[in-house]
């Protein structure tokens, strides 16, 4: 069973989530090829060749793929796909963007956001914000899959795969990149951090999110937010943890001033240890927290920072 995994990267480095997507692919079979499509992405290709369990790396280096435009990437993947029964991508914003386009071009369904593999055609995925878990069988000859990486442990990076350069340029010519505005942060990525501290509506305003900084510094944590905090305009949407934001499962998740709506729980309830700080003892977040403290966050945060 040959499997194509599409590498997630920014032309400079391979995203750690790809190692988890490969782990998911390994539950289907062992003949795994990694596709790196990008521009001036040699460093990514080299990192991809080291990913354990990968036999071949297909490298496609062209300006058409610099910004992972779905129109161009999907044409490339569709062309390469003929040799593979399974196509895997990571369920991050890049994979979520181009993979359904690949599936439709191949005239097959996509199974989104899988958290487990039952067999080569049967996959497990959360639905209804994780309030139900569906086991779904694909009836198509080709399986197009996106992987929610919190369900899988990363493979190691001590392999040595063969690199094959592809000279395929698929430029649809109907879309172009204008600009990126990326958040510059010294902190780890939300998806990769082992500790995440998130603020909710209880933070009251964006300035108060600074109260989380010192704790995040001490713990090496990423900072997240609930949808309520994003909706209220406290912080940008790329910090949102939840059903329609980022899905995280760190070793430690600290929820500050977050009531615990089902949409938020969907994004963090697989965390190993959950701490809730909330002044409302009835807040639903306490029902999923391992350790809760009923306190005013404006007292609790400075004290926590000083005692870490």
């Amino acid at each position: 069973m040959s499997i194509l995994v599409i590498a997630e990267h920014d032309n400079n480095s391979l995203k750690a989530e790809t190692l988890k997507t490969v782990a998911a692919a390994q539950k289907v079979g062992s003949d795994i090829t990694l596709l790196v499509a990008g521009f001036n992405c040699q460093a990514v290709v080299e990192a991809a060749a080291k990913v354990n369990g990968v036999g071949k790396v297909l490298a496609c280096d062209n300006a058409a793929y610099e910004h992972q435009l779905a129109e161009n990437i999907s044409l490339l993947v569709t062309e390469v796909a003929s040799d593979y029964e399974h196509i895997f991508a990571t369920a991050l914003t890049t994979g979520k963007n181009f993979m359904p386009r690949v599936a439709a071009l191949l005239d097959v369904a996509q199974i989104s956001d899988i958290i487990d593999v039952e067999s080569s055609d049967t996959f497990v995925r959360p639905i209804y914000a994780g309030n139900a878990i569906a086991t779904v069988q694909s009836l198509d000859s080709k399986k197009v899959i996106t992987v929610r990486t919190t369900g899988f442990d990363a493979v190691a990076s001590d392999g040595n795969a063969e690199i094959i350069n592809l000279d395929i340029v698929t430029d649809a010519g109907i879309s172009s990149h204008v600009s990126d505005e990326l958040t510059v942060s010294e902190r780890p990525d939300l998806g990769a951090a082992s500790v995440v501290i998130s603020g909710g509506r209880g933070m009251q305003n964006g300035d108060n999110f600074k109260l989380l900084d010192g704790i995040a510094d001490k713990l090496g944590a990423a900072i997240g937010a609930s949808r309520a905090a994003v909706d209220a305009g406290f912080v940008p949407n790329d910090m949102q943890v939840g059903q329609t934001g980022k899905i995280v499962a760190p070793d430690l998740y600290i929820a500050v001033g977050i009531s615990g709506a089902i949409q938020h729980l969907a994004g963090m309830k697989d965390s190993k240890v959950i701490v809730a700080i909330n002044k409302d003892p009835e807040a639903p977040i306490f029902q999923v927290a391992d350790y809760g403290i009923v306190a005013d966050l404006f007292d609790a945060l400075p004290e926590l920072e000083s005692k870490l």
Binding site: N97, P126, N131, D251, V273, D290
Partner: protein, 250 residues
């Protein structure tokens, strides 16, 4: 220009869904239903384009049984001009939904199709991208800003780590993220007016598309329940527990 807005009837986002005891699916009997929140944002964006003089007509469309007419009426009350229901009792895969929408796009020739980025029931996040593939149109997914400029639309997208702006040739597909706009409330006069707006019903079977299922739902189970832990009395106790009991900090 015409704007087409496909919408979906889903469980109300405040309602917690229950799994059926036989694990065949979730139980939606007597559950409060609503327009999918991202679809509502899509309707609002289309109506704002019309109010700005860019769109000339906003057409809402939904695929499902008769009950989805309720959500189409909501879209009409929010400002859509007319509605189309594609009637089916089947729970269609996203690919088949996209194929039906493709036929409507061919017929209506909209310059812009605005959809929600995902529905909060199946959480697939597929239909817009699939429709873009089938129609050969460019796609601006997870949009937080949509600006039509001449024969292009500039879409600012919510991506991991920040924002990305793309320029797409029209006609194009846009899927909405939550910060694109804040949908209005339908006023009572507009709700009354919506009842008289045209709503066409077409049978899914009449489109001549193979709509056979591409996936099979084998079972639906409740998620593993997380046990509530303990409430600590002080920050000192919390830090002590995290260090010595949970061992997640040092």
């Amino acid at each position: 220009m015409k704007v087409l807005v496909p919408i979906k009837r889903v469980i109300d986002y405040n309602v917690k869904v229950r799994v059926k005891p036989d694990h065949s699916n979730v139980d939606l009997a007597n559950t409060k239903m609503a327009i999918n929140p991202f679809c509502e944002i899509a309707v609002e964006e289309a109506v704002r384009l019309k109010e700005a003089g860019i769109a000339t007509e906003v057409i809402a469309i939904s695929i499902g049984d008769k009950s989805c007419q309720e959500q189409l009426r909501t879209a009409l009350a929010l400002g859509a001009d007319r509605a189309i229901q594609i009637d089916t009792n089947e729970n269609l895969d996203a690919l088949n939904i996209a194929k039906l929408l493709q036929k409507v796009v061919e017929e209506e020739q909209p310059q812009l199709v605005i959809l929600g980025k995902q529905s909060i029931d199946s959480d697939n996040n597929q239909t817009g991208q699939m429709l873009a593939a089938l129609t050969g149109m460019p796609q601006g997914t997870f949009a937080s800003v949509v600006k039509v400029e001449g024969d292009k639309v500039n879409v600012t997208r919510e991506i991991d780590g920040g924002l990305q702006t793309l320029a797409l040739n029209l006609p194009a597909i846009v899927t909405t993220d939550l910060r694109l706009n804040e949908p209005r409330y339908a006023s009572l006069p507009n709700i009354m007016k919506a009842k008289r707006k045209p709503l066409d019903v077409k049978a899914a079977a009449d489109f001549g598309i193979d709509l056979s299922a591409r996936t099979k739902l084998l079972k639906v189970t409740p998620p593993a329940e997380r046990q509530a832990g303990i409430v600590v009395e002080s920050i000192d106790e919390l830090v002590e527990k995290l260090k010595n009991e949970a061992k997640v900090i040092s």
